[in-house]
């Protein structure tokens, strides 16, 4: 019998089948990647743990914590494995861990700032590093000569210079890790950080030169070797830069043609930058310089070429890689320190090194700054100098270099290793811990994180041009002159060569800022809108939080509704026609009432389920509309908004517009209207409730971007009314025009997001007569029945609306009760004029003040469960009605009310009649059929 052939049954020809093997232990094969993944995981988890406590991370830099963690882990490994494992290997460090960090810092380097300060950066990087290494090396040698060191330290001048060269370089990883948390001003940061990046060339050259000198032995060094050393400095630094520029050029050129393969666009950025690093490393040029300049120079073109999504991908991938590299570097630094086999302690050497690097760094900074300040436009003051000296942190580069030393050639390697570890730990932990308090104590100018504004961008460009012009006029070819020349060259040749045609055309910094701001506005508009909806914040004028909210919303609203012709900031609050306000308030009621059923569909409306494509399109659409609207606003005459819409919009919203124009020349029945709408503010209180907020604010915000705008607009109106003291300003005709136009615009914007609420909103503007009573009832019934979907409801409303529009024309001067009475009697009642003094506040307001929002909308949304507040109102009013939710729905009640006037009226019934009574007494001439009807019913 042959066993059945199968992969599970054939373990391989080599292994004698001692029975079929189910599983095989393959640790050897996965060991390396598995360990790598495990360490990354450990480091990342540690990061999470650190950030659990805000207090700790605000005081202790992350790098310190990671080093300490590494020490701890190293101790554990040592205790378990009995020997130190998992050290920071120089090869791993230079080939895998360092490049992401350097690429990240180069790519996201603020290039303008960098080149503005390039003089200072280069000085500190080159002269400063040279100074540091020579002085430190020589001073240590002096210490050794003086016999202060242990005789075991076998080192000559060259050894100490070698050690000085590796210990003196400021480390980009450490500087970045510490300074990112300190937030000193940009100039200071860029100088220290730029120095730490650019000094790599000096460090590499010095290290190599001295290393070869040590290997040769002092006797064999010739004068030509020194010359070679100097020459190799230029070769290494300029060569590294050239490699970087070359690859930046290639990268930009490649991304120009990736239109069809968007998905791998980000890969090119990483690949080419990495290849640049490797190429420079291969020919022993400065790899850090190569990647830095590759990143700095390619960014402009790459960002213009690749898609928005790729940009985001590049950004996040880069940050992730850099951050995890940094984490691993610090953790492994800590772990490497426990390996005592490498250590050889000498107190004098350690203390001497610490003293000298601090001292000479300070001296060097002061001397160089003194010279630089004679040329700098903004001198670096003493405080800056202190921070710069103190911020000279040493890190993993020094450690990796010292590990790379050859023990046979450099006899004192163990001493150097120990000293380097102490120095690195000292600078990262002690200086890292104290630099924040120091910066605070010295009152170093911090960076201000303000949002970029359009004005700033414009003025800066103007400044650039002015300065270039002044240099031209004075006849001096200074910095601005050359920058201007470079920009012209870039615009004419480089950009054309390296950018896509489409990108090049629209390439303009001002325009970019404008575009970004616009998008941001649109998005924040949408987001904030959600708050207006779900939070009760905006409802009460007396609430303190309201002020700030409304301010920002005014700003945004204004921006959104942007008319250039009228910049009245009070436009939102200007007196509008009563109808507008009524529409607005009605809209609120309807919004609150009719919207809810959609929540059943929240999954499909949630942003999480919308494909990102849709989101992007939406952004674009918002932007497009925004732009279009702005242009239209300029074209339109001041008082005739409707007629000047573009054709496309005419087509889209023709129906709606018809409705608007209908309402705008409505019969002059306003004087008789029974509801004084300007006092309708409390309505807003009602439409929000705590539970809604808690359970659905998120989805609502997502769903509902459209309607929100209207809500905001009207809210402003109402608030303005409610607190007349706040808005003292005269209202111009212009303003009112803009206000209404913005209202319309907002509505049109609304139906970008969702069409249905808009329909509702429009319905609110329509009067309803006796003739339409049954129509209304039917629609309402369908809404209340709960069986219909929102889509159906919307359809019903559309149908209803068109019917109304037709009827309206015929109905002429007939006087109709507002739709609100029919749809939502409570709302009307609630919005009855509230007494001015707080003592006489209506109950719902008092209740709201206590933080519990009444909920009015239950009628339309959840017929089964009434809110407590409603019961409360019933109680207060002393009606002996059966609970409203058990009584017949309102339309039935009103029907019954029509027939039998003395039936026990539930609370909602009592409200309109009360309202009606009051209004009648105010305007006895009122002849509204519905009003009189209700009054009779009472």
């Amino acid at each position: 019998m042959h066993p059945p052939a199968g992969p599970a049954a054939s373990p391989g020809p080599a292994a004698p089948p001692a029975g079929a093997e189910l599983l095989r232990w393959q640790w050897q094969e996965v060991q390396v990647p598995c360990l790598v993944a495990a360490w990354i995981l450990v480091a990342s988890l540690a990061k999470i743990v650190f950030h659990l406590s805000r207090k700790v991370t605000s005081i202790v830099p992350e790098s310190c914590l990671l080093i300490l963690l590494g020490l701890g882990l190293g101790g554990i490994v040592l205790a378990v494995a009995k020997k130190a494992k998992y050290q920071l290997e120089p090869n791993m460090f230079f080939l895998f861990l360092l490049p992401p960090i350097v690429l990240d810092s180069g790519y996201f380097m603020p290039s303008r700032l960098f080149f503005d300060n390039i003089g200072a950066i280069l000085t500190y990087a080159v002269v400063g590093t040279l100074w540091n290494s020579f002085t430190t090396g020589t001073a240590l040698w002096g210490l050794h000569q003086a016999g202060l060191m242990d005789p075991g330290v076998e080192a000559g001048l060259m050894d100490f210079l070698l050690f000085g060269s590796l210990i003196s370089a400021v480390d980009p990883v450490a500087v970045l890790a510490v300074f990112e948390e300190v937030h000193v001003n940009e100039t200071l940061f860029i100088i220290v950080f730029g120095e730490s990046l650019l000094n790599d060339a000096v460090t590499v050259v010095l290290y190599k030169v001295f290393n070869s000198f040590v290997e040769l032995g002092p006797a064999h060094i010739h004068a030509t070797d020194y010359v070679k050393g100097v020459a190799s400095f230029f070769l290494v630094s300029l060569g590294g830069t050239a490699v970087g520029l070359l690859f930046a050029f290639l990268l930009a050129l490649i991304t120009r043609f990736t239109k069809r393969v968007r998905i791998i666009e980000p890969l090119f950025v990483f690949l080419l930058a990495y290849v640049a690093y490797l190429a420079a490393e291969m020919v022993s040029l400065s790899a850090i310089l190569a990647v830095t300049f590759c990143g700095i120079c390619c960014k402009k073109y790459v960002e213009a070429n690749i898609s928005q999504k790729s940009r985001t991908t590049v950004k996040y991938t880069m940050k992730t890689l850099a951050s995890s590299s940094e984490t691993i570097i610090f953790m492994f630094l800590g772990m490497s320190a426990v390996d005592t086999s490498k250590w050889a302690w000498d107190t004098a050497l350690v203390l001497g090194t610490l003293l000298f690097i601090l001292l000479f760094r300070a001296v060097g900074v002061v001397l160089q700054t003194y010279v630089l300040n004679r040329f700098r436009l903004i001198p670096l003051d003493r405080i800056d100098q202190v921070v710069m000296s103190y911020g000279g942190l040493r890190g993993a580069v020094a450690f990796a270099l010292v590990i790379l030393l050859d023990r046979d050639k450099v006899k004192a390697k163990d001493y150097f290793v120990a000293t380097t570890i102490v120095v690195v730990f000292f600078t990262v932990i002690v200086q890292g811990l104290t630099i924040k308090p120091l910066v605070t104590w010295l009152k170093v100018k911090r960076s201000d994180h303000h949002k970029p504004t359009l004005n700033e961008e414009l003025h800066e460009h103007a400044f650039d041009h002015i300065l270039a012009a002044v240099e031209d006029i004075v006849g001096h070819h200074g910095y601005h002159y050359w920058r201007d020349k470079w920009e012209q060259f870039d615009k004419r040749y480089l950009s054309q060569l390296l950018m896509r045609k489409s990108a090049y055309r629209l390439r303009d910094e001002i325009w970019d800022v404008y575009y970004k701001l616009n998008i941001r506005d649109a998005i924040s508009f949408v987001d904030q809108g959600g708050h207006v909806l779900s939070a009760a914040k905006l409802a009460l004028p007396s609430m303190p939080s309201r002020t700030s909210m409304s301010e920002s919303s005014v700003t945004n609203l204004l921006r959104e509704s942007g008319s250039g012709a009228c910049l009245d900031l009070q436009v939102i609050d200007t007196v509008r026609s009563r109808r507008d306000k009524e529409d607005a308030a009605m809209h609120h009621v309807l919004r609150g009432s009719l919207y809810k059923p959609r929540r059943r569909y929240k999954a499909s409306y949630s942003r999480h389920f919308i494909s990102p494509d849709k989101q992007e399109r939406q952004d674009k659409e918002i932007f497009r509309q925004n732009m279009k609207r702005r242009l239209e606003t300029f074209k339109s005459t001041k008082h005739n908004i409707c007629s000047s819409k573009s054709k496309a919009r005419m087509k889209e919203k023709g129906r709606k517009k018809k409705d608007i124009s209908l309402t705008s020349d409505a019969p002059n029945g306003r004087t008789h209207r029974s509801v004084p709408w300007q006092e309708a503010a409390p309505v807003l209180v009602m439409v929000s409730s705590e539970e809604e907020e808690s359970d659905s604010s998120e989805t609502e915000r997502e769903d509902d971007e459209g309607i929100v705008f209207i809500a905001r607009a009207t809210d402003e109106v109402l608030q303005g009314k409610a607190t007349p003291g706040r808005h003292r300003h005269s209202r111009t005709q212009q303003g009112s025009c803009l206000a209404s136009s913005s209202f319309l615009h907002l509505q049109s914007k609304a139906d970008l997001g969702c069409a249905k609420p808009v329909v509702c909103a429009k319905v609110s503007g329509v009067w309803l007569g006796e003739l339409l009573f049954s129509v209304a009832l039917e629609a309402q019934q369908s809404l209340l029945g709960g069986s219909c979907t929102p889509g159906l409801a919307a359809k019903a409303l559309v149908w209803w609306q068109s019917l109304l529009a037709g009827l309206r024309e015929r109905a002429g001067a007939m006087q109709y009760p507002p739709l609100s009475f029919l749809l939502c009697p409570q709302a009307a009642w609630m919005s009855a004029p509230a007494p001015a003094s707080s003592r006489h506040r209506p109950p719902w307001q008092r209740r709201s003040c206590r933080g519990k929002e009444t909920r009015l909308t239950w009628l339309f949304t959840s017929p089964r469960r009434p809110p407590k507040s409603c019961q409360w109102i019933c109680r207060k009013r002393g009606t002996k009605a059966s609970p409203p939710w058990r009584a017949s729905p309102p339309h039935r009640a009103s029907r019954r009310d029509r027939s039998t006037g003395d039936s026990p009226a539930p609370c909602w019934r009592s409200s309109p009649s009360r309202r009606a009574r009051r209004c009648r007494s105010r305007s006895p001439a009122s002849s509204s059929p519905a009003t009189s009807l209700r009054a009779a019913g009472r």
């Binding site: 503005d116 100039t187 040329f375 436009l377 903004i378 001198p379 201000d448 303000h450 504004t453 359009l454 004005n455 700033e456 414009l458 003025h459 460009h461 103007a462 400044f463 041009h465 002015i466 300065l467 270039a468 012009a469 002044v470 240099e471 006029i473 004075v474 006849g475 001096h476 200074g478 910095y479 002159y481 201007d484 012209q488 615009k491 090049y504 055309r505 629209l506 303009d508 001002i510 325009w511 404008y514 701001l517 616009n518 301010e551 700003t555 204004l558 921006r559 942007g562 008319s563 250039g564 012709a565 910049l567 009245d568 900031l569 009070q570 732009m627 242009l631 300029f634 300003h729 005269s730």
Partner: protein
């Protein structure tokens, strides 16, 4: 040199005091002035046409304009001068002096204001103390004129957006007609312009004996 003697010593002293330049700087500037004016005592607008590098400057007209703006020349009247003499030239140049180490807060503030005023005057082309929307649009259009692919409409909408922003920064309690200088200052709050309106050339020598 020869040119220096042509500048009367009294004027030289005055120039030093008023503008804060060293005598060497003044000498250099005077040489350049003679060069531009073709050895005349005054410079006219046409003289600026002879500077080739200026040609590509998108807001060149505005900048040249600023040289003849009487407000910048610290004259009482407003309007445009037809020609400026060397003293006026120095006055304009002094707007671009870098800050000095020994300046106190008050001086710095004044210094900053002066520089911003220069910019403001450049924008406010009709001399009414307000940057109106139209003026702003003009500036933005000129700034964007370097890019032929951007339409005028976009320049306009950018200007409108910027104006809107200015209006929102400067408080909602007014009908917004334009940016006044106070608003302009407000807009610049928190942004250090120290780097942005200096010409290094004028700082080549220590300014030891200028005050």
């Amino acid at each position: 040199g020869r040119q220096w003697q042509e500048l009367p010593p009294g004027k030289r002293k005055k120039g030093e005091r008023g503008s804060g330049f060293t005598s060497e700087q003044i000498e250099h500037l005077h040489r350049r002035f003679r060069q531009l004016s073709r050895d005349q005592l005054t410079i006219r607008k046409e003289n600026f046409d002879s500077i080739p590098d200026l040609e590509f400057n998108p807001i060149r007209a505005k900048i040249v304009h600023a040289f003849f703006d009487k407000r910048n020349l610290r004259q009482e009247s407003s309007g445009l001068a037809d020609e400026i003499n060397f003293e006026d030239f120095l006055t304009i140049m002094s707007y671009f002096r870098p800050i000095e180490m020994n300046m106190d807060e008050e001086q710095l503030d004044r210094f900053r204001k002066e520089k911003l005023k220069f910019l403001f005057h450049m924008y406010d082309s009709d001399h009414d103390g307000k940057i109106t929307l139209q003026e702003y649009r003009n500036v933005v259009e000129e700034l964007l004129s370097g890019n032929p692919h951007l339409e005028k409409e976009s320049a306009r909408s950018i200007a409108d957006g910027a104006m809107m922003e200015a209006a929102s920064i400067c408080g909602p309690d007014q009908v917004y007609e334009g940016i006044t200088f106070e608003d302009f200052l407000k807009m610049w709050q928190g942004i250090d312009i120290e780097t942005k309106m200096h010409v290094r050339f004028l700082n080549m020598e220590t300014i030891a004996h200028c005050y």
